[in-house]
Symmetry: C2
Subunit: 149 residues, 2 copies
């Protein structure tokens, strides 16, 4: 239901949220998130266009968040890279449905609306700070996992 | 969020639900649902394997429902052709996450669970019988639309 693109974007944002004082290079983010570099580059560019992150050039350059993790929702991240689309018009282009969806598409859109609401209500900060026993993000277990294995 | 495959499958099931006494050929279903024949054929095969519909050969052969529309949910149809996948394990394969998801993947899975529940609670019969003013399915406006246009 959520694409690989959305998954990488969320991992990248989580990584940046946990490293607020040091801009992170694409290579650093790729290592932390286990994402392939060329794919990740495109994801980072899309998040740059959406003004979630910015790239700083130069010796200590890299990507950092443009807003605090409290001000970024899971929804914002997904919309930046692989938007959830609501059903706003009859997919069959039926003229008499131009103002109201049929029951099928209304139900499907209601399901999409539920997801949208759930993801709008979840900030990146909540995910990062949640839970004492479970460490915040899979991405951050990558190195632990390697050590374990 | 819902694939074209899921969309065609739902249209096809709706068409069969509204024509319970006459088996429908792939061509008839394709016309009613505005789906390309080869694509639709595969969708119908998948629904056959899932025992939602059956094909009868012969002169008056075609597809018909194996269960009543009251006993088929939107979820059943989607699962037959393009299943909604819950997140049951850490996508990063982190060993220490084998028993519990991190907050990110737990939240995403919660959103998927909401959708799953919504679609499990909606039967095809409800969609067909719902609403006096709006006719039940976009698919069934296809011919009207053509007349309108």
């Amino acid at each position: 239901m959520f694409s690989q693109t959305a998954e990488y974007a969320l991992r990248a944002i989580a990584h940046l949220s946990m490293n607020p004082s040091t801009p992170q290079t694409t290579r650093q983010i790729a290592e932390a998130t286990q994402a392939p570099m060329p794919y990740l580059s495109k994801v980072l560019q899309a998040m740059g266009r959406a003004e979630l992150i910015r790239a700083q050039r130069g010796l200590h350059g890299g990507f950092s968040l443009l807003r605090s993790p409290e001000q970024i929702t899971v929804y914002d991240v997904i919309q930046a890279v692989d938007p959830i689309k609501r059903i706003t018009a009859c997919p069959l282009g039926i003229r008499s449905h131009s103002n109201s969806l049929c029951p099928l598409h209304r139900r499907l859109d209601q399901a999409i609306a539920l997801v949208e609401r759930q993801l709008r209500e979840t900030t990146i900060a909540e995910m990062i700070h949640e839970s004492a026993t479970l460490r915040p993000l899979c991405a951050f277990h990558a190195k632990d996992g390697a050590k374990d294995g």
